[in-house]
Subunit: 711 residues, 2 copies
Amino acid sequence: MAYDRAAVREVLDKARAEGRTALTAPEGRRICDAYGITTPGEGLAASAEEAAAVAEELGLPVVLKIVSPDILHKTEAGGVLVGLRDPAAVRAGYDQVMAAARAHNPEAAIDGVQVQAMVGGGHEVIIGAVTDPTFGKIVAFGLGGVLVEVIRDVTFRLAPLTGEDAMGMLDDIRAAEVLRGARGAEPADRRALADMIERVGALAGDFPELAEVDLNPVFATAAGAVAADVRMLLADRPEPERVRPSREEILASMNRIFRPRSVAVIGASGETGKIGNSVMRNLIDGGYRGHIYPVNPKAPEILGLPAYPSVAEVPGEVDVAVFAIPAKLVPAALEQAGRKGVAGAIMIPSGFAETGNAEGQREIVEIARRHGVRVLGPNIYGYYYTPENLCATFCTPYDVKGGVALTSQSGGIGMAILGFSRATRTGVSAIVGVGNKADIDEDDLLTFFEQDDDTRCVAMHLEDLKDGRGFVEAARRVVRSKPVIVLKAGRTAMGARAAGSHTGALAGDDKVYDDILRQAGVVRAPGLNDMLEYARALPLMPTPAGENVVIITGAGGSGVLLSDACVDNGLSLMEIPPDLDEAFRAYIPPFGAAGNPIDITGGEPPSTYENTIRLGLSDPRVHALVLGYWHTIVTPPMVFAELVARVVAEERAKGNDKPVVASLAGDTEVEDACAHLFDHGVAAYPYTTEKPVAVLGAKYRWARAAGLLRG
Amino acid sequence: MAYDRAAVREVLDKARAEGRTALTAPEGRRICDAYGITTPGEGLAASAEEAAAVAEELGLPVVLKIVSPDILHKTEAGGVLVGLRDPAAVRAGYDQVMAAARAHNPEAAIDGVQVQAMVGGGHEVIIGAVTDPTFGKIVAFGLGGVLVEVIRDVTFRLAPLTGEDAMGMLDDIRAAEVLRGARGAEPADRRALADMIERVGALAGDFPELAEVDLNPVFATAAGAVAADVRMLLADRPEPERVRPSREEILASMNRIFRPRSVAVIGASGETGKIGNSVMRNLIDGGYRGHIYPVNPKAPEILGLPAYPSVAEVPGEVDVAVFAIPAKLVPAALEQAGRKGVAGAIMIPSGFAETGNAEGQREIVEIARRHGVRVLGPNIYGYYYTPENLCATFCTPYDVKGGVALTSQSGGIGMAILGFSRATRTGVSAIVGVGNKADIDEDDLLTFFEQDDDTRCVAMHLEDLKDGRGFVEAARRVVRSKPVIVLKAGRTAMGARAAGSHTGALAGDDKVYDDILRQAGVVRAPGLNDMLEYARALPLMPTPAGENVVIITGAGGSGVLLSDACVDNGLSLMEIPPDLDEAFRAYIPPFGAAGNPIDITGGEPPSTYENTIRLGLSDPRVHALVLGYWHTIVTPPMVFAELVARVVAEERAKGNDKPVVASLAGDTEVEDACAHLFDHGVAAYPYTTEKPVAVLGAKYRWARAAGLLRG
């Protein structure tokens, strides 16, 4: 698309030169013209006569709007009249609008009255762009009136955006059907609407100083889209530029930090109960095989290893320095570590920004930048990286190696991650605390985990993003090859922000995170336990090849609840083709129900479970299985678990590798059966029909976002 | 309100006499008049001239609508014209509408054209009533157009309903603010709208044969409400009357069934693996102290007890007969049991309606009715009632006595209930399978549990209700004294029903269950695990005295997630008054955060937890506490658990009895700490911030429904 940037530049510079942040309607219109955004025919009138003449030229009826840089809310000022049907009404209207505006604000500079062809019909929608504090420029779209303002049925994307993304926005609101002509309404020209959204995104992207763009209403008809009212605001001051290291620079540091040849522990101690003692013991007991250099000016030896008075005196190279000293001693020690050339400073101490000591935190970042040291923390429990047996934390070592990397912004959540992982024997590649995120943040970690073959899935707890756009870029790359799960805390605490436009008011909302994380292909977890369960289960499951989910259950009651859960999680219950239906029926009692769920009925022997599950795994039209087990004497829990594990392994060996999840209803023995199934790659849960389907749903959300289900 | 029932009767009888189920617009209007439902001024015209005359009398503009019993969808037939502004247009319009109707259906009988004053402005709403298959007559309300038809923003209540209930409906839609005048819209006359809803409810209640009543649109303005279009349909056949035993009759049977002096086991067996053996062993091993009479024609003695060839030959009275024989042997045995005067037949056998043998099921119900025997099942695992050590099931005995009664429609879900209860040591009064519900259903059980002092909370899994209205009546009574939790399975499977009106189409929806269960004061659980967790936790918690919830947390990260969960669960975070804030601050480090959540910060000693928790419990303005614990060396998990249990007990002894829930973030030791807390009345969960708040939210939902928070 061709945009006239120079014309916009001129309008903005003029407003800026006049010290204004609000653009007038004619200015807004000039900008729209420059970006190909259709507005109604209009003209500016400086007298009642001129208004009538313009109206006759445009064609009646018309709308009159006061034009004044000092009157932002025109309607409230009595500065808007609609539906003027003849020249006399226009003349009278002109006088009325001028009088109202003067009464409203006698000081206001008035440029005249805008005479606008009255547009209408079709659907009223709102299209806008604002600067989000986390994500920068974002575009909003919704149906106007009650839907967007009361129901808040609105959707957001990063700006700029492609036409395809814009088209996706049209389908992403709850009332999407309306634009397609639901219930006899006129279908909108969706292409024209998407085109206008794309143009607004381009405008916002090209001119960061445009703080808010608000087209409201836009009339969307079968013939096109017209922005009937335009409001634009300039930012008070320019957005600060963010400087980010290149991917290569990040990886150079991160690879040294996660696979260090040597680790110095600054503040190492032989005294039990001290953090510097816990870190030393965890490095040693965890089985880390690189050099460990305790640093302590008062001890010649700690836990059998020679100690050094400072990191400067360590004989060899040092990749990582773990800090276990009080905050006030950090700057001097970090200066030494910087000179020594460490790649990473693992900053366990608290007492920085989280206690109000923002200055102290700035100081250490400044020292680190000067020496090219990356800082993790401060105010963290440390980090684990199991492929290197590296346990640089003050907690206890974690040793169940596996595919998931977990990070947390909070220490408490980090402890919950550790406890859950240990209790469920979740296979973990890394557990990382990011704490105050003075330097290293989620983008850096994603960049490392993306190319880390030991990590197959990333799960992150976060309360904010320092650079939402950087995160989205990194996440978009990573999700192509591995799922990224995010628990965003503080969903409901954002509250309303003061804003000068409708779009601005709508944007102060968790929905922005929701839409943009989804756009990035991230799987958002609704709560802590969900994040942990997704992290545990997703790496176990192969990627499904398509949308056909089949439920096989021994308990009709579970089948109904599993179906409910499938719908809740956006999964498609396969319509079983007649030949397959017949094949299933051959294995189940005559009063059982084929269809989907396939109810094999209670009291069946192991062979019925085995035959039907094998059929589901081997038929190429089936893409994932949800199993419902009912505890009976005929098929006890562990018999079920062993047969499922065996059948899944046998079919996998034949190339039939599909996600299988299970819900086990029964007495307490089902818990051991679930553990056995998990150990054999089947995500299985006792006493719940929701969890197995929720983790399968999460896997599907990722697979769709990664584009793996399109074939 | 005064309703003219005779006028309605006359209209309905005439339509019925003419073999019609669709009422004409003038008929609908006469019914509206009789029930005080305002409709626009109108008249029937038989010629173009007459139409113009009527229009001038009513005042222009007008709407024309064809009147024909054979044309139901007038708009589709071209039989509606709106906005006719002068007599000439009305005359031309009359001819056009007649021609269109004839073209649409040349066979149609045409009564003329309805001339209606054109109403409009304000808000378009829909008010209707339909016959729901579960609940009978229900009333629907929503905002018209996109909101109700695409977003499905609609709410339902049982008909008839009070004016207060009707007013509640106005607030129960998502777009409720609109009617209050949100965003500059005209506020509706809410009293007039509620009044119209109440009148529609009365009409539907008075005339069960009115299958569908559809007022759409109703124009709601500040001046009142006018039903611009009325559509009414008669049922093809009358609804069958439901006969229910009286509360006294139900209780007489239920008390004998749950507290039997004697139990006969029909099909008792000495052979391990048989159901009749499991039942015998469970009765004996479970510690049941009444008489146990094994019935088996082939054995003189079973498990050391004398056996009888038939129940008729049992020497004493028999309160309960447990059936553990094949379906085909049931009728004869039931006949004998009936003659013997048993109160309840516990019908374990399958092979009835669930396998297509509906006839067999009808037969046993008929036998039971004849003898005044109540039947539980068939197709169930049996029932437990722990106060009597009564374990009449083929599972294993359950012995953790406590306050919750659980019922399930499905055997699989029953086994999940048992396993979960055992694994979590949930205190249970009863576990009951209802299976096919041939006779005893949830209403009967609620009636018993209501007056059972050993039951403090009821949790029910159900897939359908035989008599939704009976259930609501029973539930309404029970919830006044104890919570009723319902897991309704099949939420998403109902699909669309064929329907002749907008209201009818809207009603084919799980939303009906949702609204009406809520209206009954029932706490609906979103899934199986939620139901189980609510059942475990609710009886532990005292009833909160008010809405002020306070979060006290050692981990800021948990505090954020706990706040999110509070908002998700409709809980109100207390605004801490300045004096209380100061009192909390005295106990926490200067960089901690008072406010709410109260962040005492990590690394604090037990005394900080103790002081702040005690303050929260003792200050009468605080009504419930949510605790967030972070595992540290300074305050290990069991130290935290023991101090919380002690402080809660001490404060309870002083009369400060409040709900306390806790989220424990830490290594695996937190699991034992949670178990200890649960044993001491604090609902505590590891690795989740959602569950503790969800159970507290459920307790609040019940307390509000029971009217206990109004003081």
